[in-house]
């Protein structure tokens, strides 16, 4: 089991680094935020990213993708984490594409995946209902009718839900809130009657939406995967999403750490570089260990999913717990070591801190995943 990148992955990573640093540096996110951009990213740039193949990495070749794995999209997400590129990789290229690739019928795949791969179709997973992540706390009701279902309920924190062309809605067809059984996933057109989408503004300047469903009519053809047994598909999506967010966090962690070390070498106080102070040196060295640990476990988690390794949920939880906690550490320490300037909006460290917090909360924070890890280890 190798923990170093393959040649192909290294190449992909270098291309991604070059591309996002040139076209979507942190200032790009800042501009979008400052002009309250309605989309929250540039569609033209997403198209360019898709032409590089990013949107279609997890899509099988027969539907216009490249049929590669999470390890490959992971290196791209890592680079996006370094520049806070606000692109719908997670919502569309990981969660949306996987939902269809893993659970879609041939007709559903034919209809949507080529558009996704080309950067034209955007997808969003409408899953969470409560503020804290709890995968099976699904109340949104899908009532069976003579020719389909009627959806009623509400979803929150739907990433890129404000621009999605299709929502992948996790609904309850039986059982009660909290139960793993009885879930069904649906493909829903947000322009359908009874769907109300309202955009939210989040601390990291990314986009999410609250979506209301009132007697929204869907047919049996809109079911994604198996009715009532949607948790299998949902688990697979969450697993991929969790590993993917870890990869993005890893990039963010490395960037903040590098910037902080650079600052320690350049900022003068008391007539010396602040990096000479042992009070800061030791904390930086401690952070280094945490950064290295985060890197190893994230690479392994991405590969574990690609290899469909047994007990991989343990490794994936370890990656999310480690990257969430390390991101909290390096952004907190990074800001502190930047002194007063770190508190300003002008300095970018604060933007990283905000994104770190949002990513930490996405698919469960350190505490959630330590608990999941313990469960997967049998205690």
């Amino acid at each position: 089991m190798s923990l170093v990148l393959t040649e192909e992955q290294t190449l992909l990573k270098e291309t991604a680094a070059e591309f996002v640093q040139e076209k979507s540096p942190v200032t790009h996110l800042r501009e979008l935020r400052d002009k309250s951009d309605a989309t929250g990213f540039s569609r033209a740039l997403w198209k360019e990213m898709s032409e590089l193949g990013w949107a279609g990495i997890l899509i099988p070749e027969e539907y216009g993708g490249s049929g590669l794995g999470l390890s490959e999209i992971g290196v791209i997400l890592e680079e996006c984490g370094r520049t806070l590129a606000p692109y719908p990789l997670l919502s569309t290229a990981v969660l949306g594409a996987s939902a269809l690739a893993l659970g879609g019928s041939d007709a559903q795949k034919q209809a949507l995946l080529p558009g996704v791969a080309q950067g034209e179709t955007l997808l969003a997973l409408a899953h969470q209902e409560k503020p804290r992540f709890a995968p099976y706390d699904i109340a949104l009701n899908a009532k069976a009718t003579s020719d389909g279902f009627e959806l009623t309920g509400e979803k929150r924190f739907v990433l890129d839900g404000h621009v999605a062309d299709r929502l992948i809605v996790v609904a309850r067809t039986s059982g009660s809130v909290g139960e793993r059984e009885g879930l069904t996933l649906f493909l829903v057109d947000p322009s359908a009657s009874g769907v109300g989408v309202s955009r939210t503004n989040m601390v990291d300047s990314r986009n999410a939406a609250n979506v209301r469903f009132e007697n929204v009519v869907v047919t049996a053809d809109d079911v994604l995967g198996d009715a009532d047994r949607g948790a299998d598909l949902l688990d697979a999506l969450i697993e991929r999403g969790t590993a993917a967010v870890s990869a993005e966090l890893l990039g963010l962690i490395q960037e903040v750490f590098d910037r902080t070390v650079t600052y320690l070498k350049t900022r003068d106080q008391f007539g010396v570089k602040i990096g000479t102070f042992q009070a800061l040196k030791h904390r930086a060295a401690n952070m280094f260990s945490e950064v290295e640990l985060s890197k190893s476990i994230t690479i392994d988690a991405l590969r574990a999913v690609d290899e469909e390794r047994p007990f991989r949920e343990r490794v994936v939880s370890a990656a999310k717990a480690r990257t969430s906690d390390t991101a909290e550490l390096v952004t907190r320490e990074g800001l502190q070591m930047h002194g007063g300037i770190g508190m300003t909006d002008e300095e970018e460290i604060g933007l990283f801190m905000k994104r770190a917090k949002a990513a930490e909360v996405t698919f469960g924070d350190g505490g959630f995943h330590r608990d999941a890890f313990a469960k997967a280890t049998g205690f």
């Binding site: 000479t276 040196k281 060295a285 476990i297 047994p310 480690r322 280890t377």
Partner: protein, 403 residues
């Protein structure tokens, strides 16, 4: 199967049939006779003759000439066989040996390496002094050339196992007028001589295999000076690298299993010995440990262990691919020792008053051993360079922070 895999498989088969052949019956698993000294010696010699006590060293100096993969196979098979491998001097195999292979002259290699392999000489490490611990280069023990000998005066402290050792590898000051790092030499000499006094120091764990060693006109043959006169610091540092690597490599490396051919059933479900142990003391709710705070601490520990093991592994792979950072050994030493201390604290917490036993009735021998282990673990972040010193090394050598 590649040719490399095939060769390894053959090697594994050989080891598997060789072990029961050479293992004296009294040492075999399930034996009810106490092994005699002769049996232990026979076991040791069987290993040493093939160089398996120092498996990576070249054959010409008594080593096994094995590759890292072969050593891994050897260790796996010995573990599977279920008999402890014969022990030879830790200081000789993991510290002095590698340094002699790199810096020693032919005569020194011939004289000392084979004795280490065969466990004929026990070594100890004469680095620290009462006035020079972290500031190792501040050492004052003097060695003065007198004909074909050096005359050594001074004192070493914290010398592990000195009372059981035959020889010492010792840092001595050979030029008191030179700059701190430039007047130090690396000298080997016999401890069984009139000028040497060894007095044990008792540790908080009750162990006393630590000593203060005094030299009063002790004698060392000049031919046992390793490397150039006054050029000992480079050797000293290299030896510390080996020491750190070993101190961190001893950590249980967390490794997530990769499925072998033949499917998932071959991969055992992950477990946590720490959690299993805690179960008896904490009780369970359903199949979860009943104390959520301790469960979280154990999870954090196991999780870090997994991450740490993977990082060791990645570092090894990067080194192979020529992208490694050698100073990372400081990080491993730091993290491993801090983790080991954390493990001790968790175990003390889970056991409550059952962790307070020292000797005699009322506590299982395992409980007493773990309690003493907890106390001993506190030294992990001191021996081989303190955690603070490792942090300094990382800050300077890895991160390039200014002095």
């Amino acid at each position: 199967m590649s040719t490399e895999d095939a060769a390894l498989a053959t090697f594994r088969e050989q080891i598997r049939s060789w072990l029961p052949e050479v293992c004296p019956p009294s040492l075999k698993p399930g034996s009810d006779t106490t092994p005699s000294a002769e049996d232990r010696q026979a076991w040791l010699e069987a290993f040493a003759e093939r160089g398996y006590t120092t498996p990576t060293w070249p054959k010409e100096y008594g080593g096994g000439g094995l590759s890292k993969q072969e050593v891994a196979v050897l260790n796996e098979e010995v573990t599977r066989f279920g008999v402890m491998p014969p022990g030879v001097s830790f200081f000789g195999t993991v510290m002095l040996g590698p340094v002699l292979l790199e810096f020693g002259n032919e005569e020194q290699k011939q004289k000392h390496l084979r004795d280490i392999t065969f466990g004929r000489v026990q070594w100890c490490q004469g680095y620290s002094e009462p006035g020079a611990g972290s500031d190792l280069a501040g050492l004052q023990t003097r060695a003065v050339r007198d004909g074909e000998q050096f005359i050594v005066n001074g004192s070493k402290i914290w010398t592990s196992m000195a009372d059981q050792a035959d020889w010492i590898f010792c840092l001595v000051r050979t030029d008191p007028d030179a700059a701190k790092h430039d007047g130090i030499s690396f000298l080997l000499f016999d401890l069984h001589q009139p000028g040497v006094t060894i007095s044990p120091i008792q540790l908080i764990s009750g162990q006393s295999d630590f000593c203060q060693v005094f030299f009063e006109d002790a004698k060392a043959e000049a031919s046992n000076l390793v490397g150039p006169l006054n050029g000992g610091w480079t050797i000293a540092k290299r030896l510390l690298q080996h020491e750190r690597q070993t101190l961190s490599g001893g950590m249980p490396g967390g490794e997530s299993p990769t499925p072998k051919k033949g499917g998932a059933s071959e991969v055992p479900a992950p477990t946590s010995p720490l959690a299993e142990d805690a179960r008896a003391y904490l009780g369970t709710e359903g199949d979860r440990l009943a104390d959520p705070a301790l469960r979280d601490r154990i999870a954090q520990y196991e999780l870090d262990k997994l991450c740490f093991g993977l990082t060791l592994k990645r570092n090894g792979q990067e080194a192979k691919a020529g992208q490694g950072t050698s100073a990372a050994s400081s990080m491993f030493k730091l993290y491993a020792s801090e983790m080991n201390k954390r493990r001790g604290e968790i175990q003390m917490s889970t056991r409550g008053a059952a962790a307070l036993g020292w000797e005699g009735e009322g506590f299982s021998s395992n409980e007493i051993m773990e309690t003493r282990g907890w106390l001993r673990s506190k030294g992990n972040s001191i021996e081989g360079g303190t955690s603070e010193v490792q942090l300094n090394v990382i800050a300077k050598r890895v991160l390039g922070l200014p002095d």
